[in-house]
């Protein structure tokens, strides 16, 4: 994780579109890690990954994404992610067709199961891409989620 974060800092020089909100919040235990303004401001998943230093991610079957094939409502799409790759230190999520695809990074210190449940907004049908960081390397997989228009609100 520390490695990832350092490369992030190196890569993330320029403050992008969202500079105004990147109040560089520091957190206990992660003194070097600031909220990555340029990654979060990137308009494509590829650019966001570059800003995060996540290059050469390798396709992996050892990351499980559980999300609906068709979301009932794009405003709240439940996503469960588990990495079965030994030594997974973080999981990052990219909703490829959202205006700002990078959705977040979840860090797992030693002793925390590399699993997270989250709920995200999907503007339209899109692949949800996950990158796991383990042993200084990156592994990736994606799942397609379709978004529909429903009825009158149940």
């Amino acid at each position: 994780m520390q490695q990832t974060r350092r490369s992030v800092i190196k890569a993330g020089g320029a403050l992008g579109l969202l500079a105004v909100l990147g109040s560089a919040l520091l957190r206990p235990g992660r003194a070097l890690a600031a909220w990555n303004t340029s990654a979060f401001g990137a308009k494509s998943a590829v650019d966001a990954m570059k800003a995060l230093g996540m290059t050469n991610a390798e396709d992996s079957k050892d990351i499980a994404i559980r999300a609906p094939d068709i979301a009932e409502n794009g405003a709240v799409v439940p996503i469960d992610i588990t990495s079965n790759i030994a030594g997974t230190r973080s999981i990052s999520v990219f909703i490829e067709k959202n205006p700002f695809p990078y959705t977040g990074t979840f860090d797992f210190p030693e002793g925390t199961v590399p699993y997270v449940h989250l709920r995200a907004k999907l503007g339209k049908s899109t692949p949800v891409r996950v990158v796991a960081a383990a042993g200084g390397k990156f592994y990736t997989t994606a799942k397609e989620v379709k978004v529909t228009i429903g009825g009158c609100g149940g």
């Binding site: 969202l18 909100l21 990147g22 109040s23 919040l25 957190r27 206990p28 235990g29 992660r30 890690a33 909220w35 990555n36 979060f40 405003a75 709240v76 799409v77 909703i95 959202n98 205006p99 700002f100 990078y102 959705t103 977040g104 990074t105 979840f106 860090d107 797992f108 210190p109 002793g111 925390t112 199961v113 699993y115 997270v116 449940h117 989250l118 709920r119 995200a120 907004k121």
Partner: protein, 105 residues
């Protein structure tokens, strides 16, 4: 003052299943109300500690749903341990709440 979180931490063996509900509008900066754009307002960082040791942290974007829900799993927890969760948003507001790890079935 932001509304409190709801935190549930339940043991399954020696793994604590931690589930957190947060009250936050998570405004995307793209929604209009009364003809005006509602400015970006969203949680950026989350940290969780078990008895003071950081066990989970996250940086997130405005694409996380309104009133966020997260769940994660911490090994080596015991009934009675304290789990503390803190979030901070882009306007500098923050909120910290605590729960006790409970024995599971």
């Amino acid at each position: 003052m932001p509304d409190p979180m709801k935190i549930r931490a339940t043991l399954q063996g020696d793994v604590a299943d931690v589930r957190v509900l947060m009250a936050h509008p998570m405004e995307t900066g793209q929604r209009k109300q009364g003809g005006k754009v509602v400015p970006l307002h969203f949680i950026q960082t989350i940290t969780a500690q078990l008895n003071g040791r950081t066990v989970f942290s996250a940086d997130i974007s405005q694409a996380i749903s309104r009133n966020p829900v997260f769940a994660f799993k911490v090994k080596g927890a015991k009934a009675g341990d304290k789990i503390t969760v803190t979030w901070k948003d882009n306007e500098g507001e923050s909120r910290t709440d605590e729960a006790t790890v409970r024995g599971g079935s």
